[in-house]
Symmetry: C2
Subunit: 310 residues, 2 copies
């Protein structure tokens, strides 16, 4: 079924073809052709039908097959109009042995950020989770948070938004550092070798100002530069992520390019401590180096606040 | 039930007490007292019964309540005569939300070491897994492998065996570095904060030379110094582990004391590379520093072989 649909899309993309010719070529009934074409139209494929037959005029939908079409990265897209949490679904797939899947939703009803914090995920955003099985030790898993941050930033910049990265997991915009996206990386495995990694990314894409959570300093692509084509944006994001993950050692350099945290005075709250000083560097797989004036401290995890210059 | 049994053990430990007096004190029937006493005897409690009543003469069994009795560490012991894998059971408990449990078995039928390697676990060993929920980032989880190695080494030395630690997870004996114990740490959680850690430890305790796996360079406590009291050994191991985990920053120093790897020429096989050089140090949470002659390389995970001096 999936394969037939792909064959139809490819045939339509190659130029006009009549229903009977398509039925012949795929050895299915004309009624089946018609049903597939209607299904594709519903999923966002713009299919013209003229005297010469059917022809693909474009793709505008935001769904699984629409995003897989033309995607230059080896990921399957599992799309949901609405889901509790893409990370939860991704964990289920990971536990069942799946890999290289992107769980994507238009809306999350129970979205979560780091440390179980609520994450508003209304319709219009790009809420997605990567299911990965990389051959890395558990200690390296945090590099995927950086990988995701770089991928989101690059995709956002292509969409015309001057995004930057605030350590460890926020993609922010402008001097007021309004939050455009957040990342939640989860992992299971042996110390030596992860079993799976799930990288959840939530991007406030086409979200109206009035639908942004009022309690946090948030913004959206729509608010900054107007609505984005979410299909193209998601494809670029997945492609950038795929390219970066093939060379994780290079991710830290790419991260530094877009970091807003480096060179700033910061206050980092860790589970057991508060560290204040100058953010002087980031090291693989994602720790922040802070110069407190007395010593150089390396922070693996925590909440980071950028302080005004003193 | 559990509580009543504990109250009986404590009463018996305090001196001879008659069945009727015990029944009165605990507000249970004399038949119930007799049943509890029989149950405790089955579980390894040596209970004398003379004219003055029942009295605890000692404990010699290797089971849950026998090990919990007199244990100076806040762990529940879940004992199995035979189990597929203590790590698997521990993961189930961890996923269900449990913490501070030790799953212990006399025999494992499907024991596994690092990277899914088989781990022979005949009756007579000490096969156990800690279920923990520490407040640490995932990247710090490998410190529990070091913690376990130090705890095993200390308990083995108390038992008269001159054990040492071979990076990353083997406790070995003598110049031929015969393997006495192995450790497998598993983890699940967010990059920032683990959900749970399971630390599996397999110790060839009272295992006859003929029951040791012939294909690997293995030894047992029994082979080195004769049989050990597994109850006392397990208690000391759990107590050492408990003390070390309360100050994980100190674990690396304790590890260095017993390390056989430091100062040796080593060959480390990592998933993507082979590194040869002098093992010059270990850093938190457990990486090995190797001086190749050209550079100093930090290795997070891999198989380490000690080479003969050149």
């Amino acid at each position: 079924m999936q394969e037939t649909r792909e064959q139809i899309v490819n045939a339509l993309a190659d130029g006009p073809i009549s229903g009977p010719a398509l039925a012949d070529r795929l050895d299915i009934s004309r009624t089946a052709v018609w049903k597939h074409v209607e299904h594709l139209r519903e999923k966002g494929f713009d299919i013209d039908s003229g005297d010469a037959g059917y022809e693909l005029a474009g793709v505008s939908g935001f769904g699984g097959i629409a995003i897989e079409y033309g995607l230059d990265a080896p990921f399957t897209i599992e799309y949901h109009d609405s889901i509790d949490s893409t990370n939860q679904r991704a964990r289920e797939l990971a536990t069942a042995g799946e890999s290289d899947v992107v769980v994507l939703a238009d809306e999350q009803t129970g979205g979560r950020g780091r440390l179980d914090r609520e994450w508003a995920s209304p319709s219009g955003g790009v809420w997605l989770s990567f299911v990965l099985r990389p051959e890395i030790p558990v200690a390296h898993a945090p590099v995927f948070t950086l990988t995701a941050a770089v991928a989101v930033t690059r995709a956002a910049r292509e969409a015309g938004v001057e995004a930057g990265i605030k350590w460890p997991n926020d993609v922010v915009i402008g001097d007021r550092e309004a939050k455009l996206a957040g990342i939640l990386t989860e992992v299971e495995g042996e110390a030596d070798r992860v079993e799976w990694v799930v990288v959840g990314i939530g991007i406030n894409a086409n979200i109206d100002e009035t639908d942004l959570p009022p309690s946090v300093n948030a913004t959206s692509i729509q608010r900054e530069v107007g609505p984005v084509d979410r299909r193209v944006f998601t494809q670029r994001l997945v492609e950038e992520f795929d390219e970066l993950r093939s060379d994780v050692e290079s991710v830290v350099d790419a991260w530094r390019e877009h970091a807003t945290t480096l060179g700033q005075r910061v206050r980092v709250e860790t589970p057991g401590d508060t560290i204040e000083g100058m953010a002087v560097g980031v090291t693989f797989p994602g720790a922040l180096a802070v110069d407190t004036g007395e010593e150089r401290v390396t922070v693996t995890a925590g909440d980071c606040e950028h302080l005004r210059p003193v």
